[in-house]
């Protein structure tokens, strides 16, 4: 528990984390508002087909915030990007403070999980208010199952980011890959055109926890394959596998290596 508190205070003292909060809390609302404006025109024109989907697209893209969170949580331990520091890496200090590496990892994952959940709840609140503000009486009711799905999606994504960064020790690659992959030009969508097995990729499977129809623009290809529950399980399986791999590598690796 003490290690967990330490991880929380480490995360909150990182300047980059505020960028993550800003993106995670604000971006979904802005995107949802834009989506709602487009949707309103369709409603007025009487051609609306996807009212129940409005707003969720913001939650898909807002996951960028927790990606930054997960990557920073690990890369900040290794990175020394200050003009004053000689060559010290925080990881050396961290591992002398919490001697068990497994405890250290669990504490870190716990801190990231808690922050992701809170951030997602904030994002949901801003998104729902944005949709209501724009759509007024047309605003759809948000179903709580799907919102829980979104929270799971955010948390799992943050943990994936954390696990991958632990393997690479460098924030650049995971940040680039994950950010692009959760954007409009996702690799998974491309791969889906090559092989249908791509539906089992973590982001694709995970998104099924709360994205439903094939009509939103992320998924002009978004045909349902899994139920929300199996989709969540598939993504969880990815998280577990990557986490175990990361834990093994982290356990064996010399800190200086």
């Amino acid at each position: 528990m003490r290690a967990f508190n330490a991880e929380l205070s480490k995360l909150f003292s990182l300047p980059g984390i505020w960028l993550a909060f800003l993106i995670g809390a604000i971006a979904p609302a802005v995107i949802a508002a834009l989506d709602s404006i487009a949707e309103k025109e369709e409603i007025i024109a009487g051609v609306s087909t996807r009212l129940s989907e409005v707003g969720y697209i913001g939650l898909v893209l807002g996951v960028q915030g927790v990606i930054i969170l997960g990557v920073l949580a690990v890369s900040s331990e290794y990175l020394t990007e200050s003009s004053e520091s000689g060559g010290g890496q925080q990881i050396t200090t961290s591992l002398t403070v919490v001697s068990s590496r497994l405890h250290f990892l669990l504490a870190k994952a716990g801190a990231v999980t808690v922050i992701s959940i809170l951030l997602c709840i904030v994002a949901i609140m801003t998104t729902v208010s944005a949709t209501h503000l724009v759509l007024g009486e047309y605003a759809p009711a948000f179903e709580w199952q799907r919102l829980i799905g979104a929270i799971c999606y955010w948390t799992f994504t943050a943990l994936l980011a954390l696990g991958i960064t632990l393997l690479t020790k460098n924030g650049i690659i995971p940040l680039a890959v994950l950010m692009i992959n959760s954007s409009v030009v996702s690799f998974s969508v491309l791969l889906y055109r090559v092989t249908k097995l791509a539906v089992y990729l973590p982001d694709r499977a995970g998104a099924e926890m709360f994205m439903f129809t094939s009509d939103t623009f992320t998924g002009s290809l978004f045909v349902r394959y899994n139920t929300p529950f199996t989709g969540g399980l598939v993504m969880l399986a990815w998280v577990v596998v990557i986490f175990i791999a990361a834990a093994i590598v982290f356990h064996r690796r010399d800190v200086a290596a």
């Binding site: 404006i37 960028q64 003009s83 055109r193």
Partner: protein, 255 residues
């Protein structure tokens, strides 16, 4: 300019090239981008082959990976400038070369020297792969119709790299620079195209969209398209203004 200052410029340029070449991360990024691009070209080609045969243009498919490819070059640009701030190297740089405007310009120039050939090879390899795989199914295109978009793609990637380097120099930290640039190129720019079709004409004046006209084969169904030359001009203005802003800040602030 005396003889000695022109020699000084070559020396500084040489030093900046040395810095880029001896940084292992840069080599790794370029290698990774090359391999990833081939993999993406393979994916697009295979997706294209599954589509209706004969209607696909090799050029369109070969350049489809450009959308992802720019990520590698964004990273390259950021690494080039942000690496100065690792381990306090910036102090060594500025005590060796105290002429800050000169030094940062030389760094951008060195980056151009490295980026142009690499961007050309990577973009060409994607098209070449598609060409080999789709020879039989797609309409055959002439070499000289390929050259222009290829040069455009090289130019686009180079300007993107320089823009990223300038933003890296402004922000000085890798992660925020990466988030800002990837966020713009992969999230904000495509989203505005989808959600705000009404301002489409203005989007042409932003670096991403304007730059894409440098290599995009002209399509007839769109109004308000820019010519490759206009696209080049607009992206060049963006890149140069960001470099200028970066230099102004670099000269003013404490290292």
């Amino acid at each position: 300019m005396s003889v000695s200052s022109s020699r000084k410029i070559t020396q500084i340029l040489g030093a900046e090239l040395d810095k880029l070449v001896t940084l292992p991360l840069i080599g790794l990024t370029l290698m990774g981008t090359f391999i990833l691009n081939l993999a993406l070209a393979a994916a697009f080609t295979s997706a294209g082959l599954q589509g209706a045969a004969g209607t696909q243009s090799i050029l369109n498919i070969g350049l489809a990976s450009m959308g992802y490819l720019k990520a590698g070059f964004i990273i390259l640009g950021i690494l080039a400038t942000c690496s100065e701030y690792t381990g306090g190297q910036i102090r060594t740089t500025l005590t060796t070369i105290p002429w800050r405007g000169f030094q940062l310009s030389a760094k951008h120039l060195a980056l151009v020297i490295i980026t142009i050939p690499v961007a050309f090879i990577i973009a060409a390899s994607g098209i070449l792969y598609t060409f080999i795989m789709m020879r039989d199914t797609a309409e055959v295109i002439e070499i000289d119709t390929m050259i222009k978009p290829l040069l455009g793609a090289t130019g686009y990637l180079t300007l993107t790299t320089l823009l990223s380097a300038a933003i890296g120099a402004l922000l000085r930290r890798t992660t925020p620079a990466l988030v800002v640039l990837l966020g713009y190129y992969f999230i904000v720019s495509p989203l505005t195209r989808v959600f705000l079709p009404s301002i489409k004409n203005y989007l042409n004046f932003f670096p991403d969209t304007a730059g894409s006209y440098m290599y995009m084969p002209p399509s007839s169904d769109e109004l308000n398209v820019l010519t490759p030359m206009q696209g080049t001009g607009i992206s060049m203005i963006w890149t140069l203004s960001f470099i200028t802003v970066a230099i102004v800040f670099y000269r003013k602030r404490d290292a």
